[in-house]
Symmetry: C2
Subunit: 244 residues, 2 copies
């Protein structure tokens, strides 16, 4: 089953709850995931890299454990992490243990701790609240009993791993999110992002277009398993998961 | 402009954030408002009256003040308040001052204090988070730049005030919510609620049907200003606001 979650709120340590981003987290049938967190109104120094954070990975980079019908624990060890790639100071490194709980209303809370000052230093607690969205729609429609089956929704993952670049693109239903790192460029110039949605008539709208290497993303994200899709400058993306 | 807001989270005092209800608050063009807060999974004693709370009122029962472009203060003095009608212990009486702030993401926070133990006793802080919903749709679709104009959406208010009953029904776009109190019956038997939505083909689906006097609600909520709509047992509702 694919999932698409839109974040409602983010609360760190003792700070009041807030949400300054339009964060979407996608996960494919096989467990590839990507979360892009662009600021809605970047301020001051945020303008150069207008993202709170972004991460992504393959199913190998997480360990999920069902606690009970409503609760899960997921340990992430991201393969793509903008904080790591940018060598950002005072940000977490290594596995993050996250605790998930589905509320009666259908919203999903996520709680955990990060260790921005090092693994043996003071932890910082965080709380995030997620609204599950129907991935088969191109608007933000809450999942309900009337929603289309998210099990048969489109689930396609493209991966790229070359000498200089690594990237991942996850399409769930109508929504595509992609991340591309230039391996040796540890500044904002080494990061590109893509977000796109497809409307009912098949038209693709690009919602996020970020990075000097954006044109290395392909212009189509559909393909059968093992197919290759081309971006600019010889970028070759391999379909590593597909149900079409 | 009408508004329809779906609550994402509710946090009282030092309790963790949670959301056990499907709360919708509607407000008409002229400022009639109603908020129904049914539990999604009522537990134990909640089953008899499976509502966290409900309130409603006319524009005369609130005072709104714009603080700046993003902030408002609204003082409510509800005309309909289930806690008051039920003489519920340890619940607030009188004006509630609420502070609203629109987040960059479009969500809206509400903060305030209630005085459940009396006006000169310890206050209890609360935090609620609201997602603005497109009232012209019959699903929960987030308001966006692509949404239909909420200024021209349907806005109709029905009021009833008889010897034994008082009620209010607010329709905004596709959504109708109604409340009816039997004046001298201060138990759950004196309270009825209605929630309905209209699909694109004009079919009305009743989503909440509560109370021994439910059939006193009319079966249609459309009418021109000053028209009268009939419910069962001679209940006569007057259209006090209408843009149709």
């Amino acid at each position: 089953m694919v999932s698409l979650n839109k974040r409602c709120t983010f609360q760190v340590g003792e700070n009041p709850a807030d949400e300054r981003t339009l964060t979407l987290s996608s996960a494919s049938n096989e467990g590839y995931y990507i979360s892009l967190r662009p600021f809605v109104e970047p301020k001051g120094s945020e303008s150069e890299f207008p993202y709170e954070w972004a991460f992504a990975g393959s199913p190998k980079s997480l360990e999920a454990k069902k606690v009970d019908e409503l609760r899960d624990v997921i340990n992430f060890n991201f393969e793509f992490d903008t904080n790591v790639h940018l060598n950002a100071e005072n940000t977490h490194r290594g596995v993050i243990e996250t605790h998930w709980k589905k509320w009666e209303s259908g919203l999903v809370e996520e709680r955990g701790q990060v260790f921005p000052f090092g693994p043996d230093k003071q932890p910082v607690s965080f709380f995030e609240l997620w609204q599950p969205i129907d991935a088969t729609r191109d608007e933000f429609v809450h999942i309900s009993e009337k929603s289309a089956d998210q099990i048969s929704a489109r689930s396609i993952v493209l991966a790229l791993d070359e000498d200089n670049y690594k990237g991942l693109i996850v399409t769930v239903g109508k929504w595509t999110q992609g991340i591309l790192f230039k391996k040796d460029e540890h500044t904002a110039k080494g990061i590109s992002f893509l977000r796109a949605s497809e409307s009912a008539d098949g038209k693709i709208t690009t919602l996020l277009k970020y990075g000097v290497d954006f044109d290395r993303f392909p212009s189509s994200f559909l393909g059968q398993k093992d197919a290759e899709l081309q971006g600019a400058a010889g970028a070759s993306w391999k379909v590593v998961e597909s149900n079409v």
